[in-house]
């Protein structure tokens, strides 16, 4: 057990690519926590997807021993928090587990929207914040301008910001020293009943569910019986350890410490981030505040490309849900796509991460239907229904009105692109809440329907600003609007997987873009095919795919029979990947592209 005043707990707040993982790597390396031969880039991002994209999905932690200039050796616990809005709740919990943050800003880029959102989480948690200017050695670095921006936009004193280059190692000793001297030590009462916060949990193939905790009060020992206050379940601790970042067994964890335990817990679902853990026999009086159960906000259908993969998909989804309590699923049947699952996610990134993991780790080919939000249907009989799938939309005569989720979005952008951003937000039914400037960057705050953002907002944002905008959001409220279900008909047959909920004023534009896209994606047949978008029986957009006029091989003699037959066999195999709608065959590729969600 460590004395409280020799502990420092902190997190790193940064935008993607601003060097959070590299800085974490340097801290680990410079303190000799991991032997040089075991170092790999982005030590803490353990999933392939995390490492490839430079994002953190799961919270990770590392315990670093640092001999400071004052001659004492400190225990530094770094919690690497998820950096994305989808995981805002997880971020806020991780922040509550530590007392300070390093705010890392790329000195050549400046503050981004995501940085802002996370700084606010840190400020909410009462953190002491140490600004760090990274990439100071780049020719494009403008430390003074960025310092000014930190002061203007965030309102933090940046005069003693630490200039570093995480890549070269420049300034890292200053960072370590600042953690000890500028961040507060944790508080806690060793003699009080155990009160620990569940920061994160994950499934380990060998150990079962691993639970990460921050001890607030009391002491947690191996073989203690502990109780989760939210779920009420009790467990005997099998293994108690700290992460360096590999597990190192420890006998007890005292106040201010961060560690992990295992306790024969079967499913990650049984552990709720933010829950309070106490002793079964001598519980603490009250739980930590702020617990919230996970609530999926974006839904889509996941279908196997090959119908034979339904069972493997089911098994894969079960396995992933064991490790992710925030991901909800139920079976779904589509005339277009066969058997699959309707899944709920915390946001678009969460959706994409799950889909990529299913495809990579379980080797599945999937079709993802258009992401949709949860609409609230107020029925005439007074009932309120959640609509997760446009295909389930009841007849409008039974519906009194429909509400949709709105978000508060913050967009930071160089001012030359501001006009385009305002236009985009306007198009997407946005309401401007605030517009301010920090240097040459504008910050626009908009009230937007989430449904418009899950469509292709990110892509449009990226393209109109050449990638210079940064964007973040929080869900604000449900509000009524004129929403309708738009169906897509191919050769007069409705294609259920392509139907979507849209605002009436946006239906024509959306319908037009969909039928145009489909016209490109559906191969020509030997007859012409009308492709229509409709609201009820009213067609709002129409394209006609012309008939194939010529498709014949000019020469075919004795030497060509084998090749032609093999081609035919290949086409037959390809036919399995076609879905039949009346007389029309639509390749699954077309669904994938038509429904391609934009990240």
């Amino acid at each position: 057990m460590t004395q409280l005043d020799l502990i420092r707990n902190f997190s790193i707040v940064a935008h993607i690519d601003h060097g959070k993982s590299t800085l974490a790597d340097r801290l680990i390396q410079m303190t000799g926590t991991v032997a040089a031969r075991d170092m790999k880039a982005q030590m803490l991002d353990s999933m392939d997807i995390e490492r490839e994209r430079g994002i953190t999905i799961k919270a990770n932690t590392v315990r670093i021993e640092y001999p400071a200039k004052d001659g004492k050796t400190y225990i530094l616990n770094l919690i690497d928090t998820p950096g994305h809005v989808d995981f805002a709740y997880e971020v806020s919990r991780s922040m509550r587990a530590v007392e300070g943050s390093l705010l890392v800003v790329d000195a050549s880029q400046g503050v981004e929207a995501q940085t802002l959102a996370n700084v606010y989480h840190a400020l909410d948690a009462g953190h002491e914040i140490v600004p760090v200017l990274n990439k100071i050695d780049l020719p494009a670095a403008e430390p003074d301008r960025v310092k000014q921006q930190i002061e203007d936009v965030i309102g933090l004193d940046a005069s003693n910001a630490i200039p570093i280059s995480a890549k070269s190692g420049l300034g890292i000793p200053d960072v370590l020293e600042a953690i000890v001297t500028r961040l507060p030590a944790p508080k806690g009462d060793r003699d009080a009943p155990l009160k620990a916060m569940l920061v994160d949990s994950w499934y380990d193939a060998y150990l079962g569910v691993v639970v990460m905790v921050r001890i607030m009060d009391g002491v947690m020992r191996r073989s203690d019986r502990v109780k989760m206050m939210q779920t009420g379940a009790a467990y005997g601790i099998d293994k108690l350890a700290v992460l360096k970042p590999q597990m190192v067994d420890i006998d007890e964890l005292g106040p201010g410490e961060i560690g992990v335990f295992t306790a024969s817990i079967k499913q990650v679902r049984d552990t709720r981030v933010g829950d309070t853990i106490t002793h079964e026999r001598k519980p603490c009086a009250e739980a930590l505040p702020g617990f919230k159960p996970a609530q999926p906000v974006v839904f889509c259908g996941l279908f196997p490309v090959d119908a034979a993969d339904f069972e493997p998909l089911r098994e894969a989804i079960e396995k992933l849900s064991l490790n992710d309590a925030s991901f909800s699923t139920e079976m779904e049947t589509s005339a277009a796509l066969g058997f699959g699952f309707r899944c709920g996610f915390l946001g678009l990134l969460h959706l994409e991460v799950i889909r990529e993991r299913l495809e990579r780790e379980f080797d599945l080919d999937l079709i993802t239907t258009a992401p949709s939000v949860v609409f609230k249907l107020y029925m005439k009989d007074g009932e309120v229904r959640d609509l997760h799938n446009p295909a389930d939309m009841p007849d409008l005569t039974y519906v009194d009105h429909i509400e949709e989720p709105r978000i508060k979005a913050t967009i930071l952008v160089p001012d030359e692109y501001l006009g385009d951003i305002l236009k985009l937000c306007q198009e997407r039914r946005g309401i401007q809440l605030d517009l301010s400037y920090a240097g040459s960057r504008a910050m626009a705050v908009y009230d937007l329907p989430l449904a418009e953002v899950v469509f292709d907002f990110y892509d449009r944002l990226k393209s109109v600003t050449k990638g210079y905008a940064s964007f973040d959001y929080v869900i604000s409220e449900y509000r009524e609007d004129f929403l309708v279900k738009m169906s897509i008909l191919v050769n007069d047959e409705p294609v259920d997987a392509l139907s979507m909920m849209v605002h009436r004023d946006r239906a024509e534009a959306r319908g037009r873009s969909m039928v145009e896209k489909l016209k490109e994606l559906i191969p020509r047949h030997m007859f012409k095919i009308p492709i229509q978008a409709a609201i009820g029986a009213r067609v709002i957009a129409r394209e006609t795919l012309s008939a194939m006029r010529k498709d014949v091989t000019a020469k075919c003699y004795g030497g060509d029979a084998t090749r032609k037959r093999k081609l035919l066999d290949k086409q037959k195999a390809g036919k399995k990947k076609m879905r039949q709608f009346g007389k029309v065959e639509i390749p699954q590729e077309a669904f994938i592209s038509a429904l391609k969600m934009d990240s």
Partner: protein, 386 residues
């Protein structure tokens, strides 16, 4: 052993050319010196080997293809035909075709070929326009082609020539004029191919680099095809296959063996064969590289590799994909006998309603419009076999 009554032909592949044409994806190679005696021996050896295996057959057709078979010495042709006569019975009206380039050098060998037994030549005219001939990489001119035709007529009764259309920058009008000029030459058989950009050719390279300009779009290609049919019909040369036109009775016996699902030996580098023995249908192949084939024949005594026994379904598919190319079409009862599965004729209604297919009893055939989208029609019909 009784003589098999399946139509039977022999294809011989001469893989050498003087130069490689940029559109051609056939197995052809440019070689300086070819030891023709050695090649003749290899062909003789293969004929003997296959004759022993397939047993007595009545040969309906022999075809020298390539490459450029008119680069063969008449003695080489003579030795090969002698070997075939020694090992097989030939039908009285056997058709013996040799593909020829219309250059004066090759014309000089026509009498030698006739004396060896060749009775039909198929000449690669490709275009009746000198600019386009050069663009197609051909070494002859229109004048030499016409002269070659004149000479050939003094030697052979049956002459066919090939033209390629839907060429770069070719208008409907210019093709019409060219085709009329061709028809005025009074041919009894014509092969008229729309230019296709085949993988692995020089044209494909240029095409992929965006440097092959002026190719017709789909609408023009359709118009070119339809005009070709009209003009040929009007001149008594209807299409009996997608790209082949003949006066009645002048159809190529050899190619009909392919399209009607007959047997054929494929001898020479890269040649394919189909042999039916004891109710099984075998697909044979040979090494493509001339040197490899020659070494294999002279070394191991066989120029064959990877013989495959077709399943009933594969056999039936080949009947469909070859047979639907022709004006006469296919007999579905024959296919049903092969696969043992009943074909649901009602499923053809869609193709019939679109005017792509014609059905009388068990006989189905493509219409002209059906032949334009033949790949789709074949997919649909083959889909019914399962």
């Amino acid at each position: 052993m009784p003589v098999s009554h399946t139509d039977f032909g022999i294809y011989l592949h001469w893989p050498f050319c003087q130069s490689k044409c940029p559109y051609c994806d056939f197995n052809s190679h440019v070689a300086d010196a070819v030891d023709q005696k050695k090649w003749a021996s290899a062909f003789e050896q293969e004929i003997s080997r296959l004759a022993d295996e397939v047993g007595p057959r009545l040969v309906k057709s022999i075809y020298f293809g390539g490459g450029t078979p008119s680069l063969m010495h008449p003695d080489t042709v003579d030795r090969i035909l002698l070997a075939i006569r020694r090992h097989f019975s030939l039908k009285n009206d056997v058709e013996i075709t040799l593909e020829a380039n219309p250059t004066s050098v090759e014309v000089g060998r026509f009498i030698g070929y006739r004396d060896a037994g060749v009775n039909r030549v198929s000449m690669g005219f490709q275009a009746l326009n000198d600019v386009d001939l050069r663009a197609l990489g051909r070494l002859h001119t229109v004048a030499s082609a016409l002269a070659a035709l004149e000479s050939a007529r003094t030697v052979f009764d049956r002459i066919s020539f090939d033209l390629i259309y839907a060429r770069q920058h070719q208008s409907l009008k210019s093709w019409e004029d060219e085709l009329r000029m061709a028809l005025d030459l009074g041919p009894t058989h014509l092969s008229l191919y729309q230019l296709t950009i085949e993988d692995g050719t020089a044209f494909a390279q240029r095409f992929n680099a965006g440097a092959l300009r002026g190719l017709p779009g789909e609408d023009l290609a359709v118009d070119l095809f339809n005009t070709t049919q009209e003009l040929c019909d009007a001149n008594g040369l209807p299409a009996y296959e997608v790209s082949n036109h003949a006066r009645s009775g002048q159809e190529s016996v050899h190619n009909q063996i392919y399209w009607r699902g007959g047997d054929y030996l494929g001898i020479g580098p890269g040649a394919h064969g189909r042999i039916t023995m004891n109710g099984n249908r075998f697909a044979t192949t040979s090494p493509k590289a001339p040197g490899a084939w020659l070494a294999s024949v002279l070394g191991s005594g066989s120029g064959e590799e990877d013989r495959e026994c077709l399943s009933a379904m594969e056999w039936a598919e080949e009947i469909v994909l070859m047979g639907l190319r022709t004006a006469e079409g296919i007999d579905l009862s024959h296919i049903q006998k092969l696969t043992g599965k009943k074909i649901d004729l009602r499923q053809l209604v869609g193709l019939k309603d679109l005017g792509l297919l014609h059905q009388e009893g068990d006989q189905i055939r493509t219409t002209l419009q059906g032949r334009l989208v033949l790949n789709g029609v074949i997919r649909e019909v083959a889909g019914l076999l399962v």
